[in-house]
């Protein structure tokens, strides 16, 4: 485990930290590292860095390490951390902002998780709604797990819980326009 040179870490990450602060609206200096977020996080058992450690990395300017973590992808967005934080730091918001930033920079530690969300949004853009069967199939295929959850498939179909064909909404292209407008304003979707 290498030594961390603190002054250069902070100096080199000023821009990223400003970006994070601006987009999340969270001041990392408020955090006093008590660990209550980690203590209550339901996914912490699977994370490489605990939520508190992510806040610590941000505080010290070691933002790349935070962006490279699996933690930010595993976070389930349950907001338990922010709800119980005694200093009212919105850790959940920091997690999701780091995720957005990581994606923008092409740093994706959990590719399958990112994949799921991309396919989801592509479906929304195309049909206006999520075509669940398509989502699951594409997710499995592109995730190189073609037979994942295959035991559940027939049951779903028989119970009428999954549509074979996608349903496109008749919105005069409004949803497509929404995506286009967001892209025009710099959104990477």
């Amino acid at each position: 485990m290498e030594t961390v040179e603190l002054t250069s870490a902070l100096a080199g990450s000023q821009q990223s930290l400003a970006e994070l602060n601006q987009e999340s609206g969270v001041r990392a200096s408020k955090c006093y590292q008590c660990g209550k977020c980690t203590a209550g996080c339901p996914v912490a058992f699977a994370m490489d860095k605990t939520p508190r450690e992510i806040m610590r990395l941000v505080q010290l300017g070691l933002i790349d390490e935070a962006l490279q973590s699996h933690t930010i992808w595993l976070c389930a967005g349950c907001v338990t951390c922010s709800t119980r934080c005694p200093r009212e730091v919105d850790i959940a918001r920091v997690m999701e902002t780091l995720r957005i930033m990581a994606r923008r920079k092409g740093i994706v530690a959990e590719k399958k998780i990112d994949l799921f969300h991309s396919i989801f949004l592509k479906s929304v853009e195309r049909f206006g709604r999520v075509y669940e069967l398509g989502l699951v199939l594409q997710n499995n295929l592109q995730g190189l797990q073609p037979f994942k959850d295959v035991d559940l498939g027939p049951a779903m179909l028989l119970k009428g819980k999954i549509a074979l064909l996608p349903h496109s909404i008749k919105d005069n292209g409004e949803v497509k326009k929404i995506f286009a407008n967001v892209r025009k304003r710099g959104g990477k979707v």
Partner: protein
Amino acid sequence: MKRVGVFVCHCGTNIAASVDCAQVAQNAQNFPGVAYATDYKYMCSEPGQELIKKAIKEHKLDRIVVASCSPRMHEPTFRRCIEGAGLNGYMLEMANIREHCSWVHPDDKERATQKSTELARMAVAKVLNNTPLEKSQIPVTKRALVIGGGIAGIQAAIDIANAGHKVDIVEKEPSIGGKMAQIDKTFPTLDCSACILTPKMVEAANHPNITLITYSEVEKVEGYVGNFDVTIRKKARSVDMNKCTGCGLCSEKCPSRVPSEFEMGMTTRKSIYTPFPQAIPNKPVIDRENCRYFKLGKCKVCERVCPAGAIDYTQEDELVTERYGAIVVATGFDLFDYSVYGEYGYGKYPDVITGLHFERLINASGPTMGKIKRPSDGKEPKNVVFIKCVGSRDEAKGKAYCSKTCCMYTAKHATLVREKIKDSNVYVFYMDVRTPGKGYEEFYTRTTDQYGAIYIRGRVSKIYQKGEKLIVKGADTLLGKQVEVEADMVVLATAMVAQPDAAKLAQMIGISYDQDNFYTEAHPKLAPVETHTAGVYLAGACQGPKDIPESVAQASGAAAKVCALLSKDEMATEPIISQVNEAICAGCGMCIPICPYKALELKTIQERVQGKTIERKVASVNSGLCQGCGACTVACRSSALNLKHFTNEQILAEVDALCL
């Protein structure tokens, strides 16, 4: 010929960093009436004061303006200084170019300098209208009131009484003793709390100069320093204190049981009761809210069994008004109600308790005779978890501040569990361990080292019941992992907060309190036992969270201040009081109800008008009572009332200097 001297202080860099002091002095030289102006680095210092005295002699100055800090800091200093040079102390004005200028405008030197010049100009205009004033004297009542009979109140009373003055202690509970009576052992010596408290309680009770007024509350405070008129409500005990022998038969036979406040609700007391065995006075009171006679008109067992015939159901509250020269407020603290924490069970889990509950459990005269038992099933716990900072350092759900005592009493509790339950496992969840007192660090080290308590750095996110156990979900930030403990009992170190009626009492007395309802001291560093209200002093946790040694020290400090006040038969009062221009006064009496100090009244004067002698009424100011608040001068319709040293002419001169 009026000759003003202007002295501009740099105050090191406090003023000079934002204001060009030399420039201000130079500008002042051109003000009308100014005969001499200069600047200096530290005007309040000895050389600074010498500078002023020398200038007064050399330049024949008869009135002085010092442009420096707030008059709250050094007005007395400069008054004494110019008195030393032969001038009357009230021929001084201070222009506050620090708190009102340099400290609020650090970034614009040019404009700050301009503002300081204007402030000095105003002060010069005012001082040109000053006249010499002399202080007067008022009598001092040599009697002190201590509100609160806990350890701080008791100590203050004993010290004041030993100095030879009479003291009354007013205590709202039936007995004196306060929170210390509920504590088992005290850190860092593990002295038995009752053993060190009760001798002081007895000393206070037996002291010829001390009167205990228990089961009573302050209802009204009027007057001012040296002469406070305090109305006390002595609540009806329903027991004749002169007849009662304290035998306790009434409590023994009383059929009505209610949860005991002293035992934190973990056991019951009777409706006629003394709160604890060493209570002083050791005579019971009837809790009329729960007593069967008062609620239902039945019972009367206590009256029947009392051998001294001391029960008196007809007793009523008594209101008495007494005069005191000084008041010491020592009303103590309360504990934060942790039931706001849903993640800790909203107060529903019986085996999640507070530190004070724990004190009662380990106390030999407590509900379990000193055995540590789970409130739920009475079993001895094996795994005990302590959680610190519950409600402290928590701006989201509790208080932002640190409660100061919890680190030490938690270490104490951890030590006692390890001592009493040999095969116990003790875990303490902490964010920091604060051990600032004498012997405190050693005590904490012993807790972990010798007594084997395991300290885990991290907060607890959730406690939930799983069968008989309590699952504590925390984090060990030093290890970087989520941790879990299967606990038998969880003790929460809850925040020390102000008493629920703290704000009400403060308003009654007329003292300041902060956003957490702790009483505000006159200066956080240099006047920790005084308030901004002359004659009222503070002692103990009502001023802020603190431990027993600090409370006792503060109490003695407050007592010393009281003794200084009461050591004089008279005290000087400021001559900054109202005066009546009888020629203009119409005698309408409008000013009389306005005065908060009842210092105005109408008197009859004789005058010669058009050759005849007539009598008419005019207002009259009692110079002893008037506190110079100025309210009457505003109310007076004919401007007959004027406040000396702040006359309408003086104030308008300042306004003209600024605006014209």
